[in-house]
Symmetry: C4
Subunit: 190 residues, 4 copies
């Protein structure tokens, strides 16, 4: 079974999710700078989610490189990941429109947490299918970032009710951690 | 005539349908847990439709694997299927926003029924074009699930006016039936 | 220059146009049959536009089959076609929400007219690039349907101010004409 | 690392951005010509942005032709470009709905400026990866248009507060400059 359509469908969903998020930035009626001010938190939450979705697309791209064949379980593990990613526009809009207050920031982290778990499940299902000595298993490796990210989210969710800005700092730290290139992985793939 | 664009276009439409459904989950104005409560039925109907669209994408993916060539009739049979799938966001939103009351649940089943019929027509048109002894015809086989699903919908539609939750149970049963892997088909394709 | 991305981009735009049209069908607040009644004309206009976009996608699919190489002019002729197609959701919504009254029906025809002209220009630019003796030129042939369609639209636009339903009949006639398979073209391509 | 998914994802995002812009053209309630009048500036800003996005897609298409391999930095440089392009529907809607008044026209230019810078960064990152003597570097050449465009935007942004129509003229001049075919580049690619 070829992986081409799995990639194409995932690309399509992530591209749409990343783009419809911008629809949450409602065009203001007034044409002055003051009218833009309430949009600033919505814009900031958009930037954060754009980066997270970019990271997911990037990692998905890398992961699928090493995939040789897919089966029904893999298709569903992938759809499960896309499901959680599809909820990002909703929580992004809620967080931005309520100026990063406790409950929306906690729900944002919850969706990120479930997306991270879904990604982890996808890697396990793929390794299961390709074998522990496959190029894929080697490319995924110990997956330190994949394992530490859910811990950050799990801390950030309750922390949000103490100080929601601290939770946002944790989300940003996770994003930065993923943005720092990992030469070991790129070398492995080559 | 190559099937690549047929797959790409179908992937595109299904990816968009699955993603714009989430736009029916309107971001609430308040930032507390109570504000999320009216969204719960919308969310549940979203989950159900996400699974149904996932099943359709999965089956479409499998079906097209065995396709060798396409013609005008096949393109239109496929567009006919996509038409019914494109109505799913509308009925999903109506069902969720009205807390699974009788009429929306019946209309939801009606759209699922027509989508199932459209999928059945697509398989017939494909077998017609490839021959009864083709790999495609063998892969489709007796198509038990494809034939029993419309029966479930046809029962669920009138049943909705008696008890709409029973209809939802029937929809969930159909989804579970399709989610259970069918090793025979995967073996046939290999 | 390869044509793969031209096809992929066109597929993407047409898939999105065909799907966001459904967003014009606003989910009604009430959960009864009466609440669906005002949506019926919107639904009918959606069906008509779905068929027209399906015809365009089909024809575009056939046309690009015979294309060997693309250049800047072809890319822009194609974008010009996509521009007019992208206006279809707007005119479809306006026509449906105003129950097929004169002005919206005339504007609907105007957009169809410009789309037909854009498609005609695209075929000319393609023949120009491939030569009059190319397979492409033979496949396009006399292009009777492509030449008669704009005439229908040009009649339907002023006619709408006399009786807008007659214009709709003309639009439906054009759609039927394109839906009737043309064995000569399929044979030529083979 | 293959470039196929980079192209597919970029095509997807640009196709969605170009299409959801049309959603800013809200369907009017009345069915007469007067109801269309307030939509005219929204339509004009849509046409302008459609052309700009068409130019970006065209240039991206050409640029990627000469690309041989991609790495993490290239993926992010590309996502950075897509980020600025994704903001175009928002600024297009704001500019159109406020009849091309000073602040929205300035913000429109700002987004175009950042998109131009992002495109420039993408070309540098690509040349960096392929070498200064690569076909890619030759194809990009001195990149006169790419260097002069940001200058136009940088002039247009403050100018908007003097006369916003003059800024629009500058935007149109940039668009025309890119629309004029550049035979040297097409020759180089061949």
């Amino acid at each position: 079974m070829v992986k081409g359509r799995l990639e194409a469908f995932s690309d399509g969903v992530i591209a749409i999710v990343i783009t419809i998020m911008v629809l949450e930035m409602k065009v203001p009626d007034e044409a002055n700078l003051a009218a833009l001010r309430p949009i600033i938190p919505v814009f900031l939450s958009y930037v954060l989610s754009f980066i997270f979705l970019g990271i997911y697309w990037n990692n998905h791209h890398h992961l699928l490189q090493a995939v040789r064949h897919v089966n029904g379980r893999i298709l569903w593990a992938n759809l499960h990941l896309l499901f959680w990613l599809s909820l990002i526009p909703f929580v992004t809009g809620w967080m931005g429109e309520n100026n990063f207050s406790a409950m929306p920031v906690a729900l944002y982290g919850t969706v990120l947490l479930f997306a991270a778990i879904a990604y982890f499940i996808l890697t396990r299902v793929l390794i299961d299918h390709h074998g522990k000595d496959s190029i894929l298993a080697t490319a995924i490796g110990r997956d330190f970032k994949g394992k530490i990210s859910p811990v950050f989210y799990a801390v950030a969710i309750p922390l949000s009710f103490v100080n929601s800005w601290l939770s946002c700092v944790l989300y940003i730290l996770v994003a930065i951690m993923w943005l720092i290139p990992d030469p070991r992985i790129e070398r492995n793939i080559t």
